[in-house]
């Protein structure tokens, strides 16, 4: 079977119901629950997530192609976990180049190497490299499998107005314009975001005075699947170089050029080819797949939510490419938003839940921008003394472990821990005032994976959690007492779906612990789950549909779980169940 060429694939424009039917007056057409603008990785991930939550989606794109040429290539473990939940993670990992190791060179020598995933017990690698057009192609094909997603290619949003009930989009097509109404709109139309501009909104921040040349070259080369980063190498004096492997024998080479470089001149093959020979050797045989010269900015919108319009991905925030925080953070925006929209649309959560999308992802964007800015300042020192310290850190790094922590060629994308989110319920201190849990799974943390056995089959924790709230209960050999079973039955029967996931050691699981009806039982075969969650019989974790921790306890108390769930849904403190029922 030949593989689809995603770089040349064209998607046919098709007129839609709003265009075909006459429009005698307002209300002639149904109001869509959600319209997503932009069929890039972020818009596609949002659409798939929403459809899997049971929300029909219209996805509008002004073009009819996937990503062209050199764009995002590094997809982080967290993003792969999300793609798994969206039903296309395995395809990405199978095609992608998996890597965990990075190497840092200074001048002519290797200074040190690092492993991004030093621990066992994870389903997915720290990163894969995969051209953006594959990611988009696989997402488009996944979207096509789901009922409820209509992708409208060459439907360009030219204007937007909102009232108390819905957003009206002015959509331009080859057949003319039409109006589309949606209760909520997700804007994921990229860094230049025409929709953001037409709303008169800005993304503000810092633009860096530096230029970089990207060359994607095709060659058979003996380099391993690692990230190699050079500071001040002989083949690009006073600048940096990054070498990274992609599928199909394509290599990403990123040369720092400096601010004074002429972008048009540096793009010419007669300038690019000698640079690559200087790196690979005069005998290297390669072909150029893609060349571009770019500058970059770190910036974001003041607010990601404007009424019924929610901004995600590069439209909302931009970072430098060092650290792979662009596409990865955008996909995390999408997953943060999808479940919230679904619950608000279903009436299970108040509109305020959408404010938490903005709050949490603005916080995450600030973290990404901070990391990205610091990496950029290390890679491109702005003053002579900054350069002296940069080189001092690199010189020390070869022999001294502490200095390796200072070297910054990009702090590679890890998801933000949503400390301080309004949806979190804080830990109780124990009787002595000490925190009751060890480890990283604090309220707001994205769930770490762990190998488990379920129904006699070896699998992983994250797929067992799914895309609804889950209560993770560590149980002993006897399981749960009858009173607790009744309380759990009542919790699981509430309007908001809640999965009951029990965890036991293989020995305890063999005793046949008593579990609530409908609960799954995971055997913690290697003890990773207990270690990573500091779990022991009685420990309970309430997890969000986007697989973040909302709350945890050493002992299960139904009223406290209920309160934490209400908080995680954005209901105000103390509001009665009546308000929930009325919504």
């Amino acid at each position: 079977m030949t593989e689809t060429n995603y770089q040349t694939q064209r998607f046919a424009y098709q007129p839609c119901a709003e265009q075909r039917a006459p429009q005698p007056g307002a209300g002639a057409h149904a109001v869509h629950p959600v319209a997503v603008i932009g069929a890039g990785p972020v818009g596609l991930a949002a659409a798939i997530d929403l459809a899997q939550q049971g929300v029909p989606v219209v996805l509008l794109d002004d073009d009819c192609t996937l990503s062209v040429g050199s764009r995002a290539i590094c997809f982080a473990k967290r993003t792969l976990d999300i793609f798994d939940r969206l039903g296309c993670g395995a395809r990405m990992v199978d095609k992608g180049v998996s890597w965990n190791v990075g190497k840092i060179f200074f001048d002519e020598e290797l200074v040190y190497s690092f492993d991004l995933l030093p621990e066992a017990g994870h389903a997915r690698p720290a990163f894969i490299n995969l051209q953006q057009y594959y990611v988009e192609g696989y997402l488009v094909e996944r979207a096509a499998e789901l009922p409820g997603i209509a992708i409208r290619w060459q439907h360009r949003v030219a204007g937007l107005a909102q009232d108390g009930d819905a957003v009206t989009l002015d959509v331009e097509t080859p057949d003319g314009r039409y109006a589309l109404r949606a209760r909520y709109v997700v804007v994921a139309d990229g860094a230049r975001s025409p929709v953001r501009q037409c709303m008169g909104l800005e993304s503000k921040g810092r633009t860096f005075r530096d230029r970089f040349l990207i060359a994607d070259v095709k060659m058979s080369a003996p380099f391993p699947s690692e990230r190699w980063f050079w500071f001040d190498p002989p083949f690009n004096r006073n600048q940096s170089v990054l070498l990274h492997r992609q599928p199909d024998d394509v290599w990403r080479i990123d040369f720092q050029l400096g601010w004074d470089a002429d972008p048009e001149l540096e793009k010419q093959p007669e300038r690019v080819i000698p640079r690559i020979h200087a790196l690979l050797g005069e005998d290297a045989a390669f072909t150029l797949e893609w060349v571009s010269v770019y500058t970059f900015s770190c910036q974001r919108m003041d607010r990601f939510r404007h009424g019924r319009v929610l901004f995600a991905g590069d439209a909302a925030h931009r970072v430098s490419p060092f650290g792979a925080r662009g596409a990865n953070s955008g996909v995390q925006d999408a997953e943060n938003l999808a479940w919230k929209l679904a619950l608000v649309l279903a009436g299970h959560a108040p509109d305020a839940l959408l404010d938490s999308y903005a709050g949490e992802r603005e916080f995450a964007a600030d973290e990404n921008i901070r990391h990205s800015t610091r990496a950029t300042d290390f890679i491109t020192p702005k003053t002579p003394v900054s350069r002296v310290f940069r080189d001092a850190a690199l010189s020390l790094a070869r022999d001294h472990a502490f200095a390796r922590r200072l070297v910054n060629s990009g702090r590679l994308s890890v998801p933000a821990v949503l400390h301080g989110s309004v949806l979190n319920t804080a830990d109780d201190a124990d009787a002595w005032g000490a925190p009751p849990f060890a480890g990283f799974m604090v309220p707001g943390a994205p769930c770490a994976d762990a190998p488990v056995r379920e129904g006699g089959r070896d699998t992983w924790l994250l797929p067992q959690l799914g895309n609804r709230f889950a209560l993770l209960l560590f149980v002993g050999p006897a399981g749960l007492p009858p009173a607790m079973l009744d309380a759990l039955r009542a919790l699981a029967a509430g309007p908001v779906p809640l999965a009951l996931v029990c965890v036991a050691t293989p020995a305890d699981a063999a005793q046949g612990p008593v579990l609530p009806p409908g609960a799954s039982l995971l055997e913690d075969t290697q003890g990773w789950l207990a270690r990573r969650y500091d779990g022991r019989p009685g420990t309970a974790y309430l997890l969000r549909p986007d697989q973040h921790v909302c709350a945890r306890w050493r002992a299960f108390e139904p009223a406290r779980v209920q309160a934490a769930l209400r908080r995680a849904l954005g209901w105000p403190e103390g509001a009665g169940a009546a308000a929930e029922a009325a919504a």
Binding site: D391, S395, A403, L406
Partner: protein, 87 residues
């Protein structure tokens, strides 16, 4: 315990060097036969090594504050200081 309004003072600026003259001589000697650029690099590496040894960011920030204030205060007093004049 610090009271509200108090500034914590974790940096020890009281005499603490066991053999101050030996230290000073060694510091100058570290730069023997180095070019200006190499001396700058040696100073920077020394700062990074010592900073790691200290570890506590509050102490380091306070030291940096003192160092910067010292330079700015001197610049205010003597805009065109001539090191040779002191010799």
């Amino acid at each position: 315990m610090t009271r509200p309004g108090d500034t914590p003072m974790p940096l020890n600026t009281e005499p603490n060097l066991a053999r101050p003259d030996d230290f000073y001589e060694a510091l100058i000697d570290m730069h023997r036969d180095l070019s200006d650029a190499q001396s700058q690099s040696a100073n920077a590496q020394l700062i990074l090594l010592l900073a790691n040894h200290i570890g506590d960011l509050a102490i380091l920030q306070e030291a940096m504050t003192h160092a910067r204030a010292g330079v700015l205060a001197r610049a205010g007093r003597q805009p065109a200081a001539d090191p040779a004049a002191a010799a």
